[in-house]
Symmetry: C2
Subunit: 351 residues, 2 copies
């Protein structure tokens, strides 16, 4: 009758059972108290809380998640952590969601669909309660995994067709069009687009497309050069790009950049070559970075709703997590900020 004792690793952690023992109730009551305190009598509640405090009990979320078959985790994939636009969004999401007991599992894809897929895979094994992706472009597998998971999914920072579930963002093509219209109204006639990472950054490409479309529509010319700089040392890459652009097309008078750092680099190059901004060339950036309003000339730019996106994603997530129906498309728009780099004195530039 060897009542064999399986020796098992002794996790010296304080468990719910310990709390139950100390407070003289059953574990299920402790569990109930923790999850729905109102349903436990005051007397017991106090005793339990007491035990928790004296023991320093910390619930084991793993066990809880396993038993309840759900976690309070939300997987988030952004292209880059270093890009402060996405960080702002994530930052706001975290603030809002942590208030409701959710944790963010954060990953960056470096603008690669494969990386995104592998992150999604990794996140899925945590059985998250929801997933948030950036943009609408994903690998076939990513789409399949997410679709079949039936999880709430939010795609942010981009609007379009073919969404998985919910979209929160704005139209990048509209941004490009607005930038073009502004430059053209300022008197520019030969526009160009200088972007970083255009080959992989779908949203930047959409803005370039919008620019070109507007050129076509407003100027009747499809001659709008689009230049892709490398990915590193952006400001310097912009200088090089500007040099190349001017060599080929010296009469350029308006340039749109995929971000403000590029614009700043171009300003430096222009100053070095005696090109006047905005008189000779007007510039518009994207992102409204911290410095954009404080350089000389200050940079006209587009402010994306970076924080608003975070807030709305969180809101949407909380809604669907609580079973409420949420809007499936949230268009947050954007703001064109006209500053010195594109403000030409009237009379000088009207053709």
């Amino acid at each position: 009758m060897s009542s064999q004792q399986r020796s098992r690793r002794s996790t010296k952690r304080v468990t719910m059972t310990d709390v139950a023992k100390l407070s003289g109730v059953s574990a299920s009551t402790v569990s109930l108290y923790l999850r729905r305190p109102a349903e436990v009598s005051d007397a017991l509640g106090r005793r339990i809380q007491n035990a928790i405090d004296t023991l320093g009990y910390v619930p084991n979320l793993m066990a809880g998640a396993l038993a309840a078959a759900q976690t309070r985790v939300i997987g988030v994939v952004v292209p880059s952590l270093v890009n402060s636009m996405f960080s702002s969004t994530v930052s706001r999401m975290q603030m809002a969601l942590s208030h409701h007991g959710y944790q963010l599992l954060l990953g960056h894809s470096e603008y690669s669909e494969e990386q995104e897929e592998s992150l999604v895979r990794a996140f899925m094994s945590w059985s998250p309660s929801a997933m948030v992706l950036t943009g609408l472009q994903h690998s076939r597998e990513t789409r399949r995994i997410l679709t079949s998971s039936a999880l709430p999914v939010v795609e942010m920072w981009e609007l379009g067709s073919n969404a998985l579930d919910t979209m929160v963002g704005f139209s990048h093509e509209d941004v490009g069009r607005a930038q073009a219209r502004h430059l053209i109204e300022s008197g520019c006639r030969r526009l160009a687009f200088i972007g970083a990472r255009l080959s992989i950054d779908n949203r930047a490409r959409l803005r370039a497309t919008g620019l070109r479309t507007a050129c076509q529509d407003l100027l009747g010319s499809s001659n709008c050069q689009i230049i892709d700089t490398g990915t590193d040392r952006m400001a310097e890459a912009a200088r090089k790009a500007l040099r190349a652009l001017l060599a080929e097309q010296p009469d350029i008078d308006g340039i749109v950049f995929s971000n403000d750092v590029l614009a700043l680099g171009a300003i430096a190059e222009a100053q070095a070559r005696g090109i006047r901004i905005p008189e000779d060339i007007a510039l518009v950036g994207f992102g409204d970075m911290d410095f954009s309003n404080c350089c000389l000339p200050s940079i006209s730019t587009v402010r994306p709703p970076r924080q608003e996106i975070g807030d709305r994603v969180a809101m949407s997530l909380l809604d669907s997590l609580q079973g409420k129906a949420a809007e499936t498309t949230v268009d947050l728009g954007f703001e064109l900020l006209v500053r010195e780099s594109s403000t030409r004195r009237v009379g000088l530039t009207i053709p």
Copy 2:
């Protein structure tokens, strides 16, 4: 003898048992195959892999973590996600650690000890395998929790005494001293420090202290004003701070900033007032931001080892996670980048 059947939520997920059944082996063999494939015969291995593929099995990490009493999660707290210095570090950590199957649970404290504590608390319930904090300043409770957890802990971005476990970073006081020395060698005699968030950013304060110490040592004067701007709209705050500074002390000839955005703002203000940089006032920033080398004048600054910190933290973590002893102090140093904003023509400035 009512052999009562507890009805339980049917998690329709594919489990390890399903895989086992389909491949005609036991669950433990599947488990073994997943963890140490070499110890399973090739034939079975192939069959198991097959079953996994056809079923689309995704391991449940919760269950695994619970059973093994350990997770592949590392909790990371940074002051701010939006500050790209920390993002770079985190980004590199994630790259390195994800290769070894670790996930990062990321949180930002907004430079508040209380927020940090509550994040640490939240992270602890995931029984992480390690924790990473920023800086050496933590609440008493945070220290207690971490100390008693016996987890590997890394404090990064700061060096000093009183570490919890391992430190990876550099000396901010040394940075301040180096900045002072550089300015003084360039001929400056009346220095000042303009910082954002000085009241809560311990590292910036340490740099200010270093600056003041060096002034004392090299100039024999403790007259080195330290100004704290607000936390928002930094570039504009810097303009205001510069104005205030000049009103009070018009003979200032060297200013150190707690980051490059502030320096950029000050440059704008100086240009607006006809103050020549660096001839009238020499400027040194901190952070080596993307734009620092591309504005006019380019900003002299200090490049912190942002990415190196991430790499070394990951390395250190992996070491201790594998039971190897790791260095407890890793000093990565920093680099003073002398650019136009502090390069005075010789002869002009020697007193």
